[in-house]
């Protein structure tokens, strides 16, 4: 009898641990599912200049001394990517941003933008090795695009017209911005809504 009980308990423990692991795996998969399904493409949060409108024009000094034009007509489009030293996701996106910039070198300038304490920004700039990007620090820039959550990106075309924008959390969302521009909608959500 004791032996039977022992074996039964061992068996039960194995099953319970197995089930606990299985539930964890399921919960994780559900999490991934939520993330994939939820905001299809970069999510637009609020107002600010919408797609098709003229972007506000700025001429800002980048770290390192160069001047950066934003919103004025030029031969290349601009992708303004708003980041902050305190945003962990932003750091993860930098390599992806670098790849995108190299791929779209012909048609797109990638500009990093941030605001706040200059010393902290410079430290971040050096630590994250961002020297190959123009990096501007301007509170007005973020305000004029009504950026409230980071990382946030705005795509402006050659004529200085805002083409698409949104909160960016991963590569898909970043690519969706460029796709939204090609489809001539403000965000992929708008496209999905209009087509359904």
């Amino acid at each position: 009898m004791t032996q039977a009980l022992t074996i039964s308990v061992i068996f039960l423990w194995v099953v319970i641990i197995g089930l606990a692991i299985a539930i964890f795996a399921l919960a994780r998969q559900i999490g991934i599912l939520y993330e994939r399904v939820a905001p299809m493409g970069a999510l637009i949060l609020d107002d600010g200049p919408s797609a098709g409108e003229q972007a506000p024009i700025f001429n800002l000094a980048a770290i390192g001394g160069d001047r950066v034009n934003i919103g004025s007509p030029s031969e290349k489009g601009e992708l303004i990517f708003f980041i902050s030293p305190t945003c962990p996701v932003c750091k993860k996106l930098i390599p992806i941003l670098r790849m995108l910039r190299d791929k779209e070198r012909e048609s797109l300038n990638v500009i990093l933008a941030s605001d706040g304490d200059e010393l902290r920004q410079k430290k971040f700039y050096e630590k994250a090795r961002l020297q190959d990007f123009p990096y501007v620090i301007s509170t007005d820039l973020g305000m004029s695009f009504k950026v409230s959550k980071l990382p946030y990106a705005v795509l402006i075309d050659e004529k200085g017209i805002v083409r698409s924008k949104g909160l960016i959390n991963n590569r898909e969302q970043l690519e969706s911005l460029l796709m939204a521009k090609d489809l001539e909608v403000e965000s992929i959500q708008e496209y999905l809504q209009s087509s359904s």
Binding site: A27, G31, M40, P85, K91, L150
Partner: protein, 182 residues
């Protein structure tokens, strides 16, 4: 007074040691992200951030060692664990009260990163309660081989229930986003 059987105390300590070990390894593996998270908590002056973001996972590992080395009687592990949890939970509460919800937890572990929420506070309070229950007097019966099974099975179950809870806490804001977008 109610006495907790030794097997429970062992299982709780083992499970919590596991939580600390996995959390610490995760933090040390991606120390840059963790440092950015500590910075985002915005509680420490800049010059302490780097030190703290290295010290915390190290203290977590030390705590886990203490918990494991002296499973039956040791109080150091328990006290250290309570200290670490209190510090981190206070950090979370302060930022929640500030309305600073964009910060990610930085908890580390098998589960995905969750943004700060009261769910995390509740989870930590349950762990604290479990730790405190280990202070209750226990009868010092000698453990049979079969108890080992209970301890290992029990601790692994508790650990995976912890990861499930954390994962569900991490999933919740995503579900909210999904609902909003539909």
């Amino acid at each position: 007074m109610f006495a907790l059987d030794l097997t429970f105390i062992y299982a709780i300590k083992l499970a919590i040691a596991l939580v600390f070990i996995v959390g610490a390894i995760q933090k040390l593996k991606d120390i840059d992200t963790f440092q950015a998270t500590v910075e985002a908590y915005d509680l420490l002056p800049q010059f302490l951030v780097t030190g703290f973001s290295i010290a915390l996972p190290v203290v977590e590992l030390v705590t886990a060692c203490f918990l494991l080395v002296d499973l039956s009687q040791g109080l150091y592990g328990l006290i250290l664990a309570i200290l670490v949890l209190s510090v981190t939970t206070t950090g979370i509460i302060v930022n929640l009260l500030r309305g600073n919800l964009d910060v990610s937890c930085g908890c580390g572990g098998l589960e995905d990163e969750a943004p700060l929420s009261w769910g995390l506070v509740a989870r930590n309070l349950i762990i604290l309660a479990m730790l405190l229950s280990c202070f209750s007097p226990s009868d010092l019966r000698s453990l049979a081989l079969f108890d080992t099974l209970t301890i290992i099975g029990g601790s692994l179950s508790v650990y995976f229930l912890y990861t499930v809870t954390s994962q569900l806490i991490a999933n919740h804001p995503r579900l909210v986003k999904l609902r909003e977008s539909l």
